[in-house]
């Protein structure tokens, strides 16, 4: 598929500049509807506290989707992603205010593979917390 980044122009160790993604309660409500994940911990503060959480938390998949967006925006084509995996290492707590929470995603080219594929190691933080670990995408470049 038509990635716009060229394999030959990418070097191991190359950093992809970090991007900040804002997540507000509205985003979680939209994500619940679009994904079909209506778990109340993602929109009901009363329920979240009842099950021992500090507040409403973002869907892990919402955070993963932001990391995915970071990769596809870099590569130029969503179809270029051939493998994408993460571990959810910490919760993204989303307060009920206008600021919401911020997820900062960064990446580095960790490895060059055959067939124009590269491994991109990803980091995602919210405040001081690393919200994704073992996050990596394999992308087929042009």
């Amino acid at each position: 598929m038509a990635a716009t980044v060229k394999y030959d122009e990418v070097e191991v160790g190359q950093e992809i500049p970090a991007v900040d993604y804002v997540v507000r309660r509205l985003n979680l409500v939209m994500y619940a509807g679009a994904s079909g994940d209506f778990n109340q911990i993602h929109w009901n503060e009363r329920f979240a506290r009842m099950v021992g959480l500090p507040d409403v938390i973002a869907h892990g998949m919402y955070t993963m989707a932001q990391a995915g967006r970071f990769v596809t925006d870099w590569a130029g084509d969503p179809g270029a992603v051939v493998d994408f995996g993460v571990r959810f290492s910490s919760m993204v707590v989303v307060p009920d205010d206008d600021q919401g929470a911020t997820i900062r995603v960064g990446g580095v080219v960790e490895e060059k593979l055959e067939d124009n594929r590269v491994v991109v190691g990803l980091t995602a933080t919210s405040g001081d917390a690393r919200v994704l670990s073992k996050a990596r995408a394999v992308v087929r470049l042009a």
Partner: protein, 149 residues
């Protein structure tokens, strides 16, 4: 309560075909805040070499959990859904999902293990077209907080 290890290796019947629509892809892209035209505009997708608009990489979560989800409701497994959070997720692609695909998912519980006070359960979902062409495989690990305590 510890999860029932007898469920490891259990496969569930293939899902009913899931029809991937342009409207659903657009809705999902809007929900994740992604304005990429390849998710919305057929011409932009075609210019990038795709037959129709493409789904974002995490889109298969919309349908891959449905067949496995029913399995997790089985009272014999002993899962307390109120205590579940997402542990790990992975998507392995043979090709991108695009509008017009009719996809069938077969879910298998591949692992149940304890980690500290928590129980971890992994479901692998094999996604093919109705014609049997492999499209992607997803791995979903959920955490039942306090389940092993």
């Amino acid at each position: 309560m510890a999860l029932n290890r007898d469920f490891v290796g259990r496969s569930f019947p293939p899902s009913a075909p899931y029809e991937v629509s342009r409207v659903k892809i657009r809705e999902f892209a809007a929900a994740i805040g992604d304005a990429n035209p390849i998710y919305r505009d057929r011409e932009a997708a075609r210019a990038a070499g795709h037959p129709d608009v493409v789904a974002p990489p995490t889109f298969p979560i919309v349908f891959s959990l449905q067949s496995g989800g029913e399995a997790l409701m089985d009272p014999g497994l002993g899962l307390n859904l109120a205590m579940v959070v997402h542990g790990e997720q992975r998507f392995e692609y043979v090709r991108p999902v695009h509008a017009g695909d009719e996809l069938v998912t077969t879910a298998t519980i591949t692992d149940i293990r304890s980690a500290g006070r928590n129980e971890l359960l992994t479901v692998r979902s094999d996604v093919t077209t109705v014609a049997g062409e492999p499209v992607c495989t997803t791995y979903n690990t959920i955490v039942e907080r306090g389940g092993a305590a």
